[in-house]
């Protein structure tokens, strides 16, 4: 009797998760896959086949955008890590008490407003009549107004800015758990700052680094708003192509195929990243 009850409780608790998994993840993806392998041969006539995937590989614009999105997302991830690590180290190891909490909160504050508003903020800074352009004219560095928006650098700035919090949070958590006496022991045994970073701090922070990188990479790869707004019509971000296929061209079949390719890409790159860093998904995300 009692075990029946506890079983019932277990399934009741499990049901929201199962519902979520089945209705929101598995079913849509099955539907999407079904759509992606149906080719339109006439009005309301479809055949099963991988033609939509063939279109992708035969059209250079499509796979080049795909590769460009992947490479820029990786670059964003690396840049975010390089910027986020010193910030996280400073917060976790060099600050104490209230200063630490304050700094951590200050990293959070920008995320209280929506991503859209934050991106418009960058547009105000970077546009031709914006703050940066005016400032440089005022100081005499440039003669006329310069457009800083609508290029790859602007996209990168936006992507790093949007995702850096998701790098800092796991890094601060793992670095916080690093015992200060390990660093001191490293110095005591004759280590230099660099060798301690390489042999003690980074190995310890590796789960945080990898989980931060996975999150930042996925966020950048799947970002739509920032590349479109800061990159303009030349942004050529793969999510933009998917949007076009679904909404502008009404070509759901090709759009679905693109969606699946993006999923395959992110899974492959995360898998490779885990293999390269010799970490497991449970070790990094499961903490």
């Amino acid at each position: 009797m009692r075990s029946d009850q506890s079983k019932l409780g277990f399934y009741l608790l499990l049901s929201p998760l199962l519902l979520w998994l089945v209705t929101l993840i598995i079913l849509p993806h099955m539907g999407l896959f079904a759509v992606s392998i149906s080719e339109k041969v006439g009005v309301r006539e479809y055949e099963t086949g991988f033609g939509n995937y063939a279109v992708f590989f035969n059209e250079p614009l499509y796979w080049r955008t795909f590769a460009r999105t992947a490479i820029m997302s990786i670059m964003t991830t690396v840049l975010t890590l390089l910027l986020g690590f010193p910030i996280a180290y400073y917060i976790a190891k060099l600050m104490r008490g209230r200063a630490k909490t304050t700094l951590f909160l200050m990293c959070l504050i920008p995320f209280w407003v929506s991503e859209l508003v934050r991106t418009f903020g960058w547009m105000i800074l970077l546009r031709e009549t914006g703050v940066l352009s005016n400032f440089l004219q005022f100081t005499g560095v440039i003669d006329g107004p310069v457009e800083f928006l609508y290029n790859d650098a602007a996209i990168m700035v936006g992507l790093v800015y949007t995702s850096i919090l998701f790098m800092i949070v796991p890094l601060v958590t793992t670095l916080d758990s690093l015992d200060d006496s390990l660093i001191e022991a490293g110095y005591d045994l004759g280590g230099s700052g660099f060798s301690i970073l390489r042999e003690i701090v980074i190995p310890h922070a590796m789960p945080g680094i990898v989980s931060g990188c996975i999150v930042v990479f996925m966020l950048s790869l799947g970002n739509y708003l920032t590349p479109i707004l800061l990159g303009g019509k030349d942004s050529l971000w793969f999510t933009g192509l998917i949007y076009t296929q679904f909404i502008t061209r009404f070509n759901w079949e090709l759009g679905s195929a693109f969606g699946f390719l993006l999923l395959a890409l992110s899974s492959t790159i995360v898998f490779l990243g885990l293999k390269l860093s010799r970490q497991s998904l449970t070790n990094t995300m499961g903490r």
Binding site: S181, E184, A185, L189, S192, S195, I200, P203, H204
Partner: protein, 368 residues
Amino acid sequence: MTSTADLVCRDLTKDFTDFRAVDHVNFEVPNGSFFSILGPSGCGKTTLLRMIAGFQFPTSGDLLIKGKSMIGVGPNKRPVSMVFQHLALFPMMNIGKNVGFGLRQRGVAEAEIKTRVGRILERVGLPGIQDRSVDQLSGGQKQRVAIARCMVLEPDVLLLDEPLGALDLKLREHMKIELKTLQAEFNTTFVYITHDQSEALVMSDNIAVMNNGRFDQIGTAEELYYEPSNAFVAGFVGDANRFDGKVVGVDGQIVSIVTDGGAEMRGKTTAGVPAMGQRAQIFVRPEAIALLKDPAQTADHMNTGEWIVDSVLFNGANSLVILRHPKSGETIHATLPQTGTFLGLSKGQSVHTSWAPEQARCFATEGQ
């Protein structure tokens, strides 16, 4: 003396914003000796050790290792190694890599590191554990690995920051002896800090008792125990009964006081004779008190009295009896003799005590 001293501190002082942690400390540690710094928590001993290691810099004074001043020298450039309180073994490396860490930093060749790591692990009694990970070791093994990791660098001075604190009692007793043996074997100068007087007494050649940032006394274990230089040392090192009272008579070095409860007792003073009427304290070791069944036929000056047994704390050879003075209500601890004479002693019985004034120490109460 200076030429053979591995570690010399001269007027070493460390100020923090609102207090002075280390106050004009002077000492020398001779080559190859085991030096302990003993003090209660918060007395500044950790700050002192961290200054020797180089993690903190003194406000004033000088610190010499092998005759060279260490002021302005970073912790990674000093010929000292430190065994941390929680050992600080690197969990991200195996034991071999842990022990070889310091040698790698010095750029020693890989093959040479391997032989030296193997040799040092053998010397601490853990041969062939290079490939194990840190959490596969027991507490005592970790301890020895931590010492090996330091000793492989052949430091001039090895600093130990209460490394036995995290171990359970039995292992701690065992490690005390082992540390002393290791020190004798390596013949390296050890500087050991602890708040546990028994660790300091058992292992050290010399002990410094530290209180409020100052060294109250430096001496061998016997000197500290039998000839404490002030009331703090007398109370902190070893067990002692303490009585507060007023001086009522002085006869050479023997001072008589009347305690606040009204009992009169005598003790020897070595640190300056207090004036009549001044407040003073008398310290008596439990083992200095002789228990008698009948009133003592004693010579003059002996402290004698009749006490009521309050409780018997049986602990094998370390058994104690707590006695209460029938008039003043003061209590003393006395060692229970293991001769069988007092077998069956129980609460409420009365016993007679006697101790020689020479075995009690009298100090004028400070702050007057």
